[in-house]
């Protein structure tokens, strides 16, 4: 009977989008890894990555069944335990982690590897939902704010030194969740302004221009406000902060950042581009996507894809295959699927009866969104090169399972809402 209720109450729209994305991802991984191989082998060849991805997809099915058969209350009850376990698994990397390409973020089990940071997102989302669903928590309260931020920053502190800046970056999206649950707006506004100032400082390459612009804005604002609201001290203070920030950005960029970090920004800002060296990834991925045209070159016909010109094409750059072989139409379709899924989850989250499941749903939507945004923006050359997978699409067991768990835990909560009162 319980099983019956899950199948009838589960949100099939989300499930269908999920399945579509997973299968499309798999087909594109197949295409992207055919390069340089003479003769086409079976898509089920388990020695190849597309074969492995097929195994990962198969293994998602029992995971989904387990998630759906567990009581929804379980996640509420054990959120903190799961979070603690997840933190332990991250910390354990420093002891028994496997290093691949300079990053110590995997546990090696035979030939398979597991990346705990992919699961930590789920755990953090659960923990944050648990914390915020406490009736006593009011995010207007400064102490509560600090506590909420600690939930977010604990895993970040463990992930950053691996080093995995991509995964760490993802956690910034929890601010949107916090804002939804009452965090004062100036947090986001400050963050937003900081980003603008950061980009502006780098783009102009001179803090003085930024300071000048800020001064003009403040002066105009000062004289346009009502006399009573004018606060010369606040304005000057603001200017000082901006000045300090701008100079420190400049300093950090030129003296703290390593050259390859600087290069990643410089590519985006259109400065000094060496297409053979650091600019190679972005350049090749733009070429692959750009050469797709309206309808693409056809499945398995992408010349860039076959030539293996795009590095990491089956993982972070999987979207280039879509762009090249399926063209603009295909790209719009994939982006459309993601937007539909995210908006659907937001819609479902807003109709949740418990705060816990609403916050969790919001976390799911936000996490999917930030991955989707950072990944595609990077691939089309408007975001610095940073390793973030495209959910459900990119190759990798940990990633696929992490996102599957993230999504289906929420779908389980959503399917269960009728039973809760």
């Amino acid at each position: 009977m319980r099983h019956q209720s899950v199948t009838s109450n589960i949100d099939w729209i989300s499930v269908v989008i999920y399945i579509t994305l997973v299968i499309m991802g798999w087909l594109n991984i197949y295409s992207s890894s055919l390069s340089s191989i003479a003769g086409e082998t079976s898509i089920f060849d388990f020695t190849q990555i597309y074969g492995k991805q097929f195994l990962f997809i198969l293994f998602s099915i029992p995971i989904i069944f387990v998630i759906l058969s567990v009581e929804a209350k379980f996640y509420d009850k054990y959120a903190i335990v799961i979070f603690a376990f997840s933190l332990l698994s991250l910390a354990g990397l420093f002891v028994v982690g496997k290093t691949i390409a300079g990053q110590r973020c995997w546990y090696g089990i035979g030939s398979f590897t597991l990346q705990p940071s992919e699961f930590a997102k789920v755990a953090t989302a659960l923990a944050l939902s648990k914390y915020l669903s406490d009736v006593q928590v009011n995010l207007k309260d400064f102490n509560r704010q600090i506590q909420a931020l600690m939930v977010i920053f604990l895993p970040v502190l463990l992930i950053l030194p691996q080093p995995d800046p991509g995964s760490a970056l993802i956690y910034s999206v929890f601010f949107i969740v916090l804002y939804r649950e009452g965090l004062p707006g100036w947090y986001l506004l400050t963050g937003f302004i900081a980003i603008v100032l950061f980009v502006l400082t780098l783009a102009t390459n001179s803090p003085f221009i930024v300071i000048g612009i800020t001064t003009v804005v403040l002066v105009i604002n000062y004289f346009r406000s009502r006399i009573v609201d004018r606060n010369i001290i606040a304005s000057v203070l603001l200017l000082l902060i901006v000045t300090g920030f701008s100079f420190s950005v400049n300093y950090v960029f030129n003296h703290v950042f390593k050259q390859h970090h600087r290069d990643r920004f410089n590519i985006l800002l259109g400065k000094e581009v060496d297409m053979k060296g650091i600019g190679y990834n972005t350049n090749q991925s733009e070429i692959a996507i750009g050469s797709g045209g309206w309808f693409g070159k056809g499945y398995l016909e992408g010349t860039q894809t076959k030539g293996g010109f795009v590095p990491e094409q089956h993982t972070d750059y999987i979207f280039t295959t879509v762009g090249e072989e399926w063209g603009f139409v295909g790209s719009v379709f994939v982006i459309g699927l993601f937007v539909a899924l995210i908006l659907r989850i937001i819609y479902l989250a807003e109709r949740q009866k418990t705060k816990f499941s609403r916050v969790y749903g919001y976390c799911v939507a936000s996490i999917l969104f930030i991955h989707f945004f950072v990944n595609i923006a990077m691939v089309i050359g408007v975001f610095p090169t940073i390793g973030v997978p495209l959910p459900f699409f990119s190759y990798g067991g940990s990633g696929l399972w992490g996102f599957t768990i993230l999504l289906f835990v929420f779908l389980k909560m959503d399917a269960n809402k009728v039973n809760e009162w």
């Binding site: 070429i287 045209g293 030539g307 982006i335 807003e350 919001y362 939507a365």
Partner: protein, 658 residues
């Protein structure tokens, strides 16, 4: 408000991503091209160039394999490779290496360009063994010409690498391709070259080939070049060139019935093999810079001269057609005649009563001067008179490019009333004023091929076919313009009396004693004045020796024009050469051996040295040395490689065609 933030961001960000994608995929086209450069490599399959045969099927031009060293600059690691070894292998200097690399890089770092063209088999073999050591270099096989004969350079032309202009203008060619220049190689380029095959090959980021693009959907198969049969009689051509050794000038022989060019000789000439291989460009420059002997200047097609006495044939024919004279019209010659006050035209004939017949064979200036004046003055309007005459003359194909199938030519010049309006503005000129035209001086200019064609027309009694040099192209019908009979404005009946006059040129006239027993030759001597500008002053040089003829008189088989620069009068050089050529063609052997020997050995070299003091090296003498040297060098190299001593094998490197 708080609820709306995330959906708003999602929608805004997604829209921005789509706009960027739209820009990348739809608006900005450059990525398509970049992707092609990136991932698609074009490989060409060059077909073998068509062979060339003479009219009897004798092989004149075959092919030999040649190997170009190509370079893709971005793949060359100059700091890692052993440049010294590379250079010594190819016998080039290191500065040459760096220069070439710079040039190639400038052309394109990604695309291949020719590093060193046209290696022969031996050079190739030595390099091939070590090529793996030199990243970025590869070998493109092409076929080069292998000349089976040492004559005909001016007829054949040569092949060379296309220059940038051609690549820009004609999309068929890419840098490094070969193209025919001059001669038949140029005019029949599209037939001879065939169609190169194109293969699109996918490559990966390491530049490795990973298969064909779209299963070869866009690939094309190469098409073999067509073999061409020339109208040239190889033996006659060779004989003509031998006769012209140490003389400058030209011979054009045409088969009157078809317009087929039997021989097209230009002297001085050179061995066509000089313009093949790595030394081609150096040799070519040397020939090109020889501004005195001008070995590259095809005198048979390009030399415009006042034709002199042979033109009298036309003067007579036009006058007969216009009815201003008949065979019996008589003029008296007093070793010249005074046609206007203070104007006297000298004549070298025996004098006395001149009629058409002896007028021709004695080449009487007085007679033809009077005939011409009558022709022009037949109409009160002299302008009209000149135009009528001009129209008749032009119907022989004069005064214009004739439309033959060689890429170069000159119009020559036949004056009209317009010409004289310019020369004598506001002056009431008449036939007397322009009487020099009567004897082929004045404003008339003709090229040797036009002279030969004039002879062919007379031989045919009033029509000609556009002269042409190609007899057959496999699978192609000869161009219609070479099968169309051009009929002149002169009635057939007027030719016979003129021809009988020309026949007696040999028996009683200016070419007395040159005849061949048993062959009825009709001919006409000529002597053309010529001038050279020296320091801005017009200096009269020694006359050119000219002779035109056709034979046999009935059922003519050959029409010929010969001219020898600065060869005094017609009978001295051009006449004997003409006769020998006719005998060679009709009988295949020469009966008068002494006569032949005198011509073969006769030299005008001292004459030329006197007339044209040399500022440059004698290109031909130098080149002949070079040919000898390189043959010896080649033999030595072969010996050292094979350890045996085969002789002159280079000629046998011919690619054998099925």
């Amino acid at each position: 408000m708080r609820k709306a933030l995330l959906p708003a961001i999602v929608i805004i960000i997604a829209s921005l991503l789509l706009i960027r994608l739209f820009y990348l995929q739809i608006i900005d086209d450059s990525f398509k091209l970049k992707s092609e450069n990136n991932a698609i490599k074009i490989k060409y399959d060059y077909p073998e160039r068509g062979y060339v045969y003479d009219r009897y099927g004798k092989l004149l031009i075959a092919n030999q394999p040649s190997y170009d060293i190509m370079v893709v600059p971005k793949d060359v690691k100059e700091d890692e490779m052993n440049i010294k070894e590379f250079c010594s292998l190819l016998d080039i200097s290191e500065t040459f290496f760096h220069e070439k690399m710079k040039k190639a890089r400038k052309y394109s770092p990604m695309l291949p360009s020719v590093f060193l063209p046209q290696l022969n088999k031996l050079e190739y073999a030595a390099f091939q063994e070590k090529i793996r050591k030199f990243n970025g270099f590869y070998i493109q096989k092409r076929s080069l010409r292998d000349y089976q004969v040492d004559y005909g350079a001016n007829v054949f032309g040569f092949i060379t690498q296309v220059n940038e202009n051609i690549v820009k203008k004609n999309p068929y060619y890419v840098g490094g391709d070969l193209i025919g220049r001059q001669g038949i190689e140029e005019s029949y380029e599209t037939f001879l070259r065939g169609q190169k095959g194109v293969k699109y090959i996918l490559k990966d980021k390491f530049n490795r080939e990973i298969g064909s693009y779209k299963e070869g959907k866009y690939d094309t198969i190469s098409k073999q070049g067509e073999d061409i049969t020339l109208t040239i009689d190889g033996e006659l051509q060779k004989y003509g060139e031998q006769l012209m050794v140490n003389k400058w000038g030209g011979i054009v022989a045409i088969e009157p019935k078809t317009g087929e060019i039997l021989a097209l000789v230009s002297a001085p000439n050179f061995n066509p093999a000089l313009l093949v291989g790595r030394k081609r460009s150096k040799n070519y420059t040397l020939l090109h810079n020889d501004s005195v002997a001008k070995p590259l200047y095809d005198r048979g097609l390009l030399a415009e001269y006042p034709p002199g006495s042979p033109f009298k044939i036309l003067t007579a024919l036009v006058a007969l057609q216009e009815g201003v004279i008949d065979e019996n019209t008589t003029f008296f010659c007093h070793h010249g005649f005074s046609y206007a006050r203070g104007r006297f035209m000298k004549c070298h004939c025996h004098g006395g009563a001149m009629q058409l017949h002896n007028g021709i064979y004695e080449s009487c200036n007085t007679y033809f001067g009077n005939v011409y004046i009558r022709t022009i003055n037949k109409y009160n309007n002299h302008s009209y008179g000149v135009d009528v005459w001009s129209k008749h003359v032009k119907s022989f194909g004069l005064g214009d490019f004739m439309g033959y199938d060689l890429p170069i030519g000159k119009r020559g010049k036949i004056p009209t009333s317009k010409t004289y309006k310019k020369i004598y503005p506001g002056w009431n000129w008449d036939g007397k004023t322009i009487v020099s035209n009567a004897i082929g001086q004045g404003e008339v200019l003709m090229t040797p091929i036009q002279l030969a064609n004039l002879m062919a027309t007379v031989a045919n009694r009033g029509y000609y076919y556009t002269p042409h040099i190609v007899k057959k192209i496999k699978g192609e019908v000869l161009d219609k313009k070479f099968r169309t009979r051009h009929v002149t404005t002169i009635d057939r009946k007027y030719f016979e009396p003129v021809i009988s006059g020309m026949f007696d040129v040999y028996n009683k006239g200016t070419a007395f004693g040159l005849g061949v027993e048993g062959i009825d030759i009709c001919g006409k001597t000529g002597t053309a004045e010529n001038y050279l500008k020296v320091n801005g002053k017009r200096v009269k040089l020694q006359d050119h020796s000219i002779f035109v003829a056709f034979a046999p008189k009935d059922n003519p088989k050959i029409a010929i024009a010969v001219f020898v620069e600065n060869g005094y009068w017609g009978k001295r050089w051009a006449g004997p050469i003409t006769t020998l050529m006719i005998e060679k063609y009709l009988r295949r052997k020469i009966t008068r051996v002494d006569f032949e020997k005198r011509m073969l050995e006769g030299s005008l070299k001292d004459q030329y040295a006197k007339l044209y003091p040399r500022k440059h090296q004698d290109s031909l003498a130098l080149l002949n040395e070079r040919v000898k040297d390189s043959m010896e060098g080649l033999n030595k190299k072969q010996d050292s490689i094979k350890g045996v001593k085969p002789k002159n094998e280079s000629k046998k490197d011919t690619l054998k065609k099925k």
